[in-house]
Every structure is written in C-alpha cells, then in structure tokens.
Amino acid sequence: MWLRLKALIIKELLAVLRDPRSRFVLIMPPLMQLLIFTYAATLEVKNVDLMVLNRDGGYWSGELVRRLEGAPTFRSIRFTRDPEALHRAIDEQQVIAAIGIDAGFSREISAGRPASVQLILDGRRSNASQIVGNYVSQVVSTLGGETPAGEQAAALTPALVERNWFNPNLDYQWFIVPSLIAEIGMLIALILTSLAVARERELGTFDQLMVSPLSAREILLGKLIPPLLLGLAQMTFFVVAAVFFFKVPLRGALLPLYGSGLFFLASVVGLGLFISSLCKTQQQAILGAFLLLVPATTLSGFATPIDNMPGWLQPLTYLNPLRYFLVVAKGVFLRDLPLSEIVLQTAPLALIALVTLSAAAWLFRRRME
C-alpha cells in the first residue's frame, strides 16, 4: 500500500509543480497578497486634505490652523471664505473634513469664555472621517488646555503613560504578515484540493485512477497529502519572509506553529475535497471554493475583530478553521503564546479536520460506487 501511495503522491505533486499554471497559482497570488496586503491594508489615516473657513482673524484661530498644519496626519489645508465652496469640496470629496471658525473666536477665548469650532466630516467614509475627527479634537483640546479657561481642567487631566505590549510602535505589518500566513494557507490548500478531483473528473482521468489497483482510501490519501505538503512549504516561505524581509519578531517556538498548522491545513483540505466531490465541473469547484472563502476570511477576525460582530453571529465563527489558526499564528509570532493556549486553539481544528475528512471520504466512496 505504501509503495502505491507514494507513487500517487509523487504523481500528484509533479502534476502540480510541472504545470506552469499551477505553479503560477502557487506563486503569484500569495506574493501579490503579501505585498499588497502588507502595504495597503492599513486602517491608519494619513495624507488627509482639510478645508478651513476662518471668520476670525485673531491669535487663537491662527494658532489652531498652525497646529493642524504641523500635524503629520494632514497633507494640505485649503482656505475658503465661501460656505458654498466648502459645501462643494465635501460633496465632491476633494476634502474629507472642513473646519469652521466663527468671528469672535479669539475674543471669547481671551475673555475666558468657552468657544467652539465647527467640524464637518464626510460621513460617506465614516471610518476614516471618525479617525480624522479624533485627530482634530485632540489638537483642539491640547490648544484648549493652554487657554485661560482651560488651564485648570488640563492640570487635572491625568497624564497617560502608555506601553504597547508585543508591538511597541503599533507596527501594522507585525499584525498583518502573521495573519496572512493563515489566510493564504487557507486559500492555497482549498483551491488546490477543490480543483484536484474536479479537474480529473472533467478531463476523464479520474476514471483511470479508479480502474487502477488503488483503493478509495489510497486515492483519498493521495489527494490529501500533496496539498498538505504544499501548504506547509508555503507556510515556511511566509515564515521566512516574515522574519527576514518584514522583520516581524518570532517570539514563540516554530514546532507548535507547524503542529497547529498541520491540523489547520488538514481541516481546510477536508473542506476542499468535500467541495470537489460535490462538484461536477471545474467551474463549479472554483466557484464553490470561492463561495466558501469569502465568508471564511471575512468572518474570521482577520480584517475586523470577532468581538465587533453581533452576538448571534459570533457562535458561527466557531465553525471556521481560520479563526483558530489566526490566533495561533499571530500568537506564536508576537506573544509567545503559551502551549496550553495553542493546544486549546488546535483541538477544534482537529475536530473540524476529522469531520470534514470523514465527510469527504464518505462522499468519495459513494461517488465511486
């Protein structure tokens, strides 16, 4: 049995590696994702354009504008005297925010009376404008602390001493690169396997496999092991890139990462085999895999925290293998996650792998008979 299995595994690996198209899939999408994701996927807001309508000519409004100009977040500040122009600039998305300062602003402050500035933000991009709103508020409240009326409250405000654990400068790449190891591992393993059977069936070579002396179990193992190996190779490439190219600190041990990764890949390969035994054509398999990938990536805690999801939706994420391995991958890199916690996250993966692989085997046998 082992000899036959080995032959089948080698054949499968060669089928993938010799085919220029499969090689493309193994190399290009992961590489593109690695480069684009790591550099583009940031929720920071930079290079913001701002408009100011200043009806006050005094010291305090001038000081406010100077501070906004000095803040690294803002790229350019445009001035206008015309409320209509301000309206248009927001409407046409030339600026994301506009500040209005009333006449008498400086006079009020100098007299020790409370003053206010208006801030108009483009709610169509509510996330970015919320962050811009926070930046502006911070600049304004710092300035407020220096005014005659504000000094008292400013002296009372506790000084905040912060320390960011695991990632002192909140470097976004430290977060995204380990996440990508998990996300792309899923993509590759799922696409390779879901296509494995469907393509053979469409080309008719699946019948050849069935009339060979291989048993159903051997065929299944032969379809299972090559994507696992390729997935692990891919993971290794990403770990190396993370450590040496992106300089993400690797604080935990690699062995638990690979151990957990193996169960993760097995659960995904099980899903892929399940899809491909359900599908009749390659097109169906590709679209089926896609249909699974989109919710699996978005509802995994990859882009947005699971905690932000509504309560009734959160239990659904327990079915998602990516959810668990994301915690492990990020944890091993940045947090030196304790082994007990890794085991806790890997146990559900083992269970999912068991279920999906048995389901795939069952479906496989039924289709063969």
Binding site: V25, L121, S126, Q130, W165, F175, L287
Partner: protein
C-alpha cells in the same frame, strides 16, 4: 467565379440585419448556458446575498464593549469616581482587580485588550493638586483595537477631569469645544458605507470573475474556435458574450440595492438613474477585464486565479472600499488608478448617502471608460492573434 460568390456571401454576412441576427443568436445561446449552470446563478444571486449579509451584519469597524482590565492599586473615593467613569463608557466592558498581574496572562491570551492602572499615588496627587498619572498597557498585537482603546481611554480621562473642574467651579463646557457633524451619515453606521461598497464587489465578481471563467472554458474546450470558424466576426462574438453578463450583473446589482434599502435600511438619497448609469459604466472595464483574462489565459483555473488577484482583491483592497487610498504608500496609490472599482466606490457611496454629485460622477465615469476601452482593445487583439 468562385471569388465572386464568396464576395457576395461576405457582403450578405456584413449587412447590419445579418449582424444583429447573429449577435442575437449568440446572446440567446449564452443566456441559455447561464440559466442551465447552477454555479452561475450561485455567483450572480447567492453570493451577493452572502456578501451583503456579511457586510451588513458581520463586518463592523465600530469597536463597542472592548474588554479591559482596570487595576486600582489603592482604592479611595477619588479612584472610585474615575472607575465609575470607565464603567459608564459604552466602549468598555470593565473587569476590576487590585493587582495588574491579575490581567497580564489575559492580555497575552487576548482575553482583555488593555489594562488601565490607577497607581497608588493617584489619590494623593489629586488632593495635592499635582497632575496625577494613569498607566495603560495595550495589546499591540491588535494595533487597530489598541489605538481605538487608547483614544477611548483618553476620552474617559478628559471627561472625568472636566467633571472635577466643574465641581471645583469652572465653566461646564471645555475651553474650546468641537462640534463634529457627520454629513450624510449622522449615526456613523459603518454598514451605511460597507453595504454600498459591496455592490462594487458583487459587480466585479459577475463582470470579471464569472465572465472570464465561462469564456475561458470555451477556449479550453475548443468551442471558441468552432464559433470563430462561422461567419461571426471577433467584435460580434465579444458583444454576444458580454451582453448576457452585463444584464446579469445589473440584475445582481438590483438585488443588492433592494436588500440594502429594504433589509439594511441604507438610505438611497440619489436617483436610480444615476445608480444605473454609474453601474453600467463600471461594467465596461469589468467585462473588458474578464474578456481579456479569458483570452490571455484560455484556461479556467488560471483565469479564475488571475481574476481573483487582478480584480477581486483590488476591488476589495485598493478601491477605498475599506482602506483609505490616501494612507497607502505612493507606489500602491499609483496602482489604484488602474483599478476600475476605485472610480465606482465614491459614486456608489454618494448615490446612497448624499445624492447625485454629477461633477464627481462624470470624472469617475470618464476614467472607467478609458480603462474599459483599453481592456476591450487588448481583448480583441488577443482573441484575433491567437487564432492565426
């Protein structure tokens, strides 16, 4: 003699009526193929439902009730007041302890996202009129959440200080207050911009992924060559292939809009005409890209992967849908200019949330048309060249 017959046959074949008839036949054939394949329907109708569901309910950038640990090293009336401010914040779900070590493992394991420490000297500093200190340990492993928590903690501290100042006889308002007004989306629902944005994703899926896949299959099976051997010209063939998917994409778009408005309560403040004009314009580059991919790869598997990398991911990541283009490094900012979805997203968000902003729409539509023309030209060249 035979040359003459050929030419009159050719002339007959080039007549507009014959052209229209052939295009009609191609469209009919393609439409039947779509209807008969369950996976096309899955992508065109089920996937939009799933995506809208995800963006309507699942993906939220609004952090609420983040779990934090609050450590009060020596409790007093003053620290109790500050603790109450934290309890009262809608952004936090607070657990308390008297020693920071209680929460340190929880921070490593991600069960709390931050630890606020009110040190032993706090009460003394406040009563002595010195500026007190508060420490904050954040989970830098989740940088987004960390910066949000940081901002919220600052807000709580400032609010508490303001309360104390008022109690001490200062004015109730801060010295300079900011009155932020969020136009078009006063409640700041991230759903209100995610749901319109996902319409662009759905149209990219139907227009580019599905189209490239189906046409690549024809190349793969050799049926494309069979069609090309008939009097159909390359241009007619492209039109015949593209029109059914154009209609299908607009159908999915309509489905999304109906759901967005009636299920998710996203306002539709602009006109439907603007929405359809924008969408139809977007489909030109989207379908052109699908055609180009299929003609260049001639293989389903490869086509699907190229469409994924060159259309789906950019529509997601490089279009301003979730991530601000202005924040990206300049080489990537440059790259976003050839992503068709980049020009659709602002239009969609405007049609839904603010209304018809024609100056914005027209410049974006012009950009989409240019990109579309380039894609179609390349696709036509690729289809012809391969045949010879």
């Amino acid at each position: 003699m035979s040359g003459k017959v050929d030419r009159s046959g050719l002339e007959a074949a080039m007549r507009p009526a014959a052209r229209l008839k052939r295009i009609g036949a191609l469209i009919g054939k393609e439409s039947k193929q779509i209807m008969r394949d369950p996976s096309s329907i899955l992508i065109a109708l089920v996937l939009p439902l799933i995506l809208l569901f995800i963006f309507g309910y699942g993906v939220s950038l609004d952090a609420r009730q983040t779990r934090i640990g609050l450590v009060i090293e020596s409790p007093s009336a003053v620290t109790e007041e500050l603790a109450a401010s934290f309890d009262g914040s809608r952004y936090f779900s607070v657990q308390r302890a008297s020693d920071r070590r209680t929460f340190e493992t929880a921070l490593v394991e991600g069960r709390v996202r931050g630890i606020v420490v009110i040190p032993a000297a706090f009460t003394e500093d406040v009563s002595a009129g010195r500026q007190p200190q508060v420490q904050l340990l954040l989970d830098g492993g989740e940088p987004n959440t960390a910066s949000l928590v940081d901002g919220y903690v600052r807000g709580v501290l400032a609010g508490w200080a303001q309360q104390r100042a008022v109690a001490a006889g200062a004015a109730a308002e801060p010295a300079i207050s900011v009155a932020p007004r969020y136009w078009f989306n006063a409640e700041l629902e991230s759903r209100n911009f995610l749901v319109p944005g996902s319409v662009a994703i759905v149209m990219t899926l139907v227009g580019t992924l599905l189209t490239s896949l189906v046409i690549a299959r024809e190349w793969e099976r050799g049926t494309m060559e069979a069609i090309m051997a008939t009097p159909v010209t390359a241009g007619e063939l492209l039109i015949g292939k593209v029109v059914p998917y154009f209609v299908l994409a607009l159908l999915s778009m309509t489905l999304c809009v109906v759901l967005a408005v009636f299920q998710f309560g996203v306002p539709l403040r602009g006109s439907l005409i603007a929405l359809y004009i924008l969408s139809a314009t977007f489909l030109i580059p989207a379908l052109g890209q699908g055609l180009l991919i299929s003609a260049a790869t001639k293989n389903q598997f490869l086509a699907s992967q190229v469409a994924l990398v060159s259309a789906f991911l950019p529509a997601f990541l490089l279009s301003g849908f979730i991530f601000e283009i202005g924040s990206m490094p300049w080489p990537i900012r440059l790259l976003t200019h050839i992503v068709p979805a980049r020009y659709l997203i602002p239009g969609l968000q405007s049609v839904f949330l603010s209304g018809d902003v024609w100056p914005l729409f027209l410049t974006n539509m012009a950009a989409m048309l240019v990109i579309g023309a380039v894609f179609f030209l390349l696709a036509a060249r690729n289809s012809r060249k391969r045949l010879q």
